[in-house]
């Protein structure tokens, strides 16, 4: 197909060293929009308060109440988690929504037979998009084939046979799926690749870094040291909420620790912690704590996100009351959320779409050969 050919050519040219010139599309529209927006922005920005303007009243107010009301010496933290806590509350759940979106979009193909009616609806669509596939069950039905499943075993002899066939095919597919994607198969393959392409056995500077699971011993040692420093920094930033810092940068640094260790040491090193069944509960517990902090203010101090925790003396770790609790929760939320999102994207496989016919002919069809005739529409069937 044309686009891949063009990409291939571009890649070849890039390898050869000549610059790849990408065409500019819709230049007139682009320049008109850009210049119009630029004019509006410049006009507006020139009217903004400059560096000599007095501070707005709201900023002065936030500075004034930081010490007396919140016992905290860092007004930015006080605003983020205290005065404008509701804003941060919404932001937390925006981040959570994004994480859920990413992990939903990035998930592997899964079989869904549990939801009522979904399978029947899917069968109808499948028959339209891929007649070959459903040929086994179509003749047995009288007219509307989707009634077979709903009716149970009251049909003629053809029905159970087709169901058996269907189940056999399904089992076959599952086996095939496990061979390629299963834990044993992939780790076995990884083991052999690991032996062949360890970066320690290659001379420095040789080209094959993408094959090795971990980086060289120099990088590994440095990463181990840096990860400790980074993790301590993350916790320090959050714990000392009376100094600049807070849960957001702390959480980002914590996600950086996971990513650094993954990049340097491979997934094995972080596998015990960086996995959905560990991170997702932590993320959800964090979200529940945020809701609890917000609602607690409503019950015990009159308004959502009002401080209802005891205020410790100024310049101690717990000095902010609710501010510090919220900040620590954000450390968990942002740290786990970013890690889930990043690793979900890293683990994305191309299993929502069937391979193109030409691809399948090369890789020999076997049980999957009957799908070779499928058109683009059968993508819906694979994903469902």
């Amino acid at each position: 197909m044309a686009p891949t050919m063009a990409d291939g050519e571009a890649l070849e040219r890039a390898r050869a060293g000549s610059p790849v010139v990408e065409p500019v599309h819709r230049p007139r529209l682009a320049w008109t929009c850009t210049l119009a927006v630029l004019a509006v922005l410049v006009f507006g920005f020139l009217a903004l308060p400059r560096e000599g303007a007095p501070l707005p009243a709201i900023a002065r107010y936030a500075l004034e109440i930081a010490l007396p009301q919140w016992h905290i010496t860092e007004p930015v933290n006080e605003i983020v988690y205290g005065t404008r806590g509701f804003d941060t509350f919404g932001e937390t759940f925006l981040l959570l929504a994004a994480v859920v979106s990413v992990s939903t979009l990035a998930r592997h193909r899964e079989r869904r037979a549990e939801f009522v009616g979904e399978e029947e609806a899917g069968e109808q669509e499948q028959r339209e998009s891929d007649p070959d596939r459903s040929a086994g069950s179509a003749p047995s039905g009288t007219g509307d084939g989707s009634g077979n499943r709903a009716g149970g075993g009251d049909g003629d002899g053809g029905v159970p046979e087709s169901r058996e066939e269907d189940e056999a095919r399904r089992a076959e597919e599952e086996e095939a799926g496990e061979d390629t994607a299963g834990e044993d198969g992939s780790s076995g393959m990884r083991g052999s690749i690991r032996e062949r392409y360890s970066s320690d056995t290659n001379p420095l500077g040789s080209r094959a870094p993408e094959h090795s699971e971990a980086m060289t011993v120099v990088v590994r040692v440095a990463a181990r040291g840096a990860a400790i420093v980074l993790a301590v920094t993350a916790i320090y930033l959050t714990a000392h909420g009376f100094a600049p810092g807070g849960g957001f940068p702390g959480g980002a640094a914590l996600a950086g620790v996971a990513l650094l260790l993954y990049a340097a040491l491979g997934y094995r090193a972080v596998r015990t912690v960086v996995r959905p069944d560990v991170l997702e509960p932590v993320e959800m517990v964090g979200a529940c704590v945020v809701v609890g902090l917000a609602v607690g203010g409503f019950f015990w101090n009159g308004s959502v996100m009002a401080n209802w925790l005891p205020l410790a003396p100024v310049r101690t770790i717990a000095s902010g009351g609710l501010v510090q609790a919220f900040s620590a929760t954000e450390l968990l939320e942002v740290g786990t959320g970013l890690t889930i999102a990043i690793f979900a994207m890293l683990a994305m496989k191309h299993d929502w779409t069937p391979d193109k016919p030409e691809d399948q002919e090369q890789s020999t069809g076997g049980s999957s050969g009957d799908r070779a005739g499928g058109d683009e529409g059968s993508g819906a069937e694979r994903s469902g």
């Binding site: 599309h25 320049w31 850009t34 410049v42 920005f45 010496t73 983020v80 600049p244």
Partner: protein
């Protein structure tokens, strides 16, 4: 001359906008959108700046000053810094979703070109 920062933010926003409109490579479109997000960080932090101001931290006031002096003294605007912090987190979240969609579209179409995805056209 904080106006220079304002103009740089406007220019950065427009570079991102131009990229998002005139390119068809999905990654470049996402990069353009990220650039537009980043320009708001520059604008917000620049708007928080005051000439000769200190950071809005009441932690260790200079000799002879109390935290209350700092409160009424010349400090940068903490509220806008808070907005910037919020914007960064939202920017990260939105970019992650964009990139995931871009990867899925690319896997489905075998192409990064937005012009190959025409179902929503018209």
């Amino acid at each position: 001359m904080i106006v220079a920062n304002y103009l740089a933010a406007a220019l950065m926003f427009c570079i991102g906008l131009h990229t998002a409109i005139s390119r068809r490579n999905l990654i470049k479109i996402v990069m353009g959108l990220s650039l537009m997000e980043a320009s708001t960080y520059l604008l917000l932090v620049s708007m928080a700046y005051r000439r000769g101001s200190t950071a809005p931290v009441l932690l260790s006031p200079p000799d002879g000053a109390t935290p209350q002096d700092l409160v009424h003294g010349n400090v940068a605007d903490p509220v806008l810094q808070n907005f910037c912090l919020t914007a960064i987190v939202i920017g990260v979240a939105v970019t992650a979703v964009f990139l995931t969609v871009a990867v899925r579209v690319t896997q489905h179409r075998r192409s990064l070109d937005a012009d190959d995805s025409r179902e929503l056209r018209g």
